[in-house]
């Protein structure tokens, strides 16, 4: 059994990312959602209908890319897109539109057999955008792409959602997922282990990283506001609390506190959350995350570093 008790709902206008280790069941979940596989039990709905039904203009409204690109080698890129357009009962002009969207240019008129693996991925992504679809279901859409195409695909996904479209994707690109996704589901062993906005997942949720010239002054200023903070690899890490905490301080509070103390950060950003959340899911493989200080450590006068405080235990 690949999926067991998976309960997943993606609402209109969301960019939902499925994250998880290999074998977690992400691709299988997408296949079931698209009607490629039939679930042994439970209920699956795509756009409110049976995923194996074509009713409601489903072929045009749902674009997808599942696993590796699937291309006929003797078709040119443009012909392949035309084939998808006709199969999806979309206008032929859609092929030209997506060629322009992904910047395929003259490559579109060459047989797909001559494409590099990255170009094949771009073409398969272009095929998913033919319609134009309301829902995109994409399995690792940026794998194998060069940085330029990766950014372009990510921008297209963002634009799609900004226009009211919906995206369900699986990815191993945690930084992309964290930046793009409105909601992320962490999968392991066929189950959804954790779900929520990417900034609110895992032990690093609500944590900020501050880069300042004088970390000690920054720590003093932040502790004066009763914020939990500590040094880590030359940065100051600030814990602002859990998502459900009412009145949780945000980055502006940190910036104001530092500015009031005459400390001006060269960088202030949210800590990456998905990496640690992912590591938790795949526990055993997890690197030791930077941890907030204990109460005893917090009472110690600055300067202190958690590794030094550890020696007092």
């Amino acid at each position: 059994m690949v999926l067991a008790g998976l309960d997943l709902r993606v609402d209109e206008g969301e960019l939902y990312g499925l994250i998880g280790p290999n074998g977690a069941g992400k691709t299988t979940a997408l296949r079931v959602a698209l009607g490629l596989l039939r679930a042994d039990a439970g209920q699956v709905r795509l756009l409110g209908r049976d995923p194996r039904s074509a009713a409601g203009a489903r072929p045009r409204r749902v674009g997808s890319l599942i696993e590796a690109p699937a291309l006929s080698p003797r078709l040119t890129g443009r012909e392949y897109l035309l084939l998808i357009a006709r199969w999806a009962q979309a206008p032929d002009a859609e092929a030209d539109r997506v060629v322009g969207l992904l910047g395929l240019g003259r490559m579109a008129d060459r047989p797909t057999a001559t494409y590099s693996s990255g170009m094949r991925q771009v073409l398969a992504t272009a095929a998913a955008l033919v319609g134009p679809p309301d829902l995109l279901v994409l399995d690792e859409p940026t794998v194998g792409l060069d940085p330029g195409h990766r950014r372009r695909v990510n921008d297209l996904l963002g634009d799609h959602v900004a226009r009211g479209g919906t995206v369900l994707l699986s990815s191993h690109q945690l930084d992309d997922a964290e930046r793009l996704c409105t909601r992320v589901g962490l999968m392991a062993a066929g189950r959804l282990v954790e779900e929520g906005p990417p900034t609110e997942l895992g032990p690093a949720a609500g944590r900020f990283e501050v880069t300042v010239g004088d970390p000690e002054a920054a720590l003093a200023a932040l502790r004066a506001l009763r914020l939990i903070c500590w040094r880590d690899n030359g940065k100051v890490l600030v814990e602002t609390g859990a998502a459900f905490q009412v009145g949780r301080p945000d980055g502006s509070v940190i910036a104001r506190a530092l500015a009031a103390a005459g400390v001006y950060p060269s960088d202030l950003r949210r800590s990456p959350t998905l990496e640690l959340a992912y590591a938790e899911v795949t526990s055993g493989l997890a690197p030791d995350p930077p941890r907030p200080p204990t109460d005893r450590e917090a009472r110690l006068e600055p300067p202190f570093d958690p590794p030094v405080a550890e020696a007092f235990r």
Partner: protein, 270 residues
Amino acid sequence: MRRQRVAGAAAVGAPRHRAERRSRPFAGAVGLRARELARRPVVLAAFSVQAMALAGAELLGAVTAEGLGGAGDDLVLGGLRVLAVPGGLVFGVLVAAVVGSEFGWATERALLARDPRRLRFAGYQLAVAAVLSLAWWAVQSLLAVTVAALLQAGGGIVAGAAWNAPAHQAALAAALAATLTYGLLGAACALILRGALAGVVALLAYALLGELVLAPQWAPAAGWTVYAAAARLAGQGTIPVARAGLVVTLAFVLALGGCLALYAGRQVRD
């Protein structure tokens, strides 16, 4: 959210696209595949090999006393009989390879992810096979008639004396029936077994082993093969014509119904 959706649709020109939607998208998709098939080496190779075999057989028939396909001096009839059998069988192998390649390239997955109707996909493959069948039959028939006419003229055979229109028409029809039936059997093998190699092996096992080796060993089965029925429709053999027609029709219906029924529950795991 609703306002955003409308604005987004306007930005990508959706209303204009709706107006431009093709009236026959399925036929358009079949047409694209047919154009692609004309570029595939395996298709070109099969057409060339069959054409050479056909021309070679007619040349051999012209220089030997026995003629071709039991048609004596009538090389046109002999050529058309060769086109029916074993040409139909060769075509079945080609269709199994062509349809099976969709599974190798995983284009089946891409198309079913868009439109999950299995029967539409199977129908699409069968329509492509049908287009290929007609092309095969038309090209090879034209070649058979042209080469035979040239050889007869070169050999001093008066065309009018050798021209038996009813027999030629029957052989042409038999060639079409054999091409369509073996093509459908090849497509069915590939669809059911989900692969080019598996489809080709299955068709060859059925046709070569079953129809040409095993069936002749057992008298009751000998007259009930597609091969024997197609040959009879082309004017060869001794089995009743009605039975030959029944066998070809049954094979066609069983292959069509069997592959559609089995493919309807297809789970796309690869």
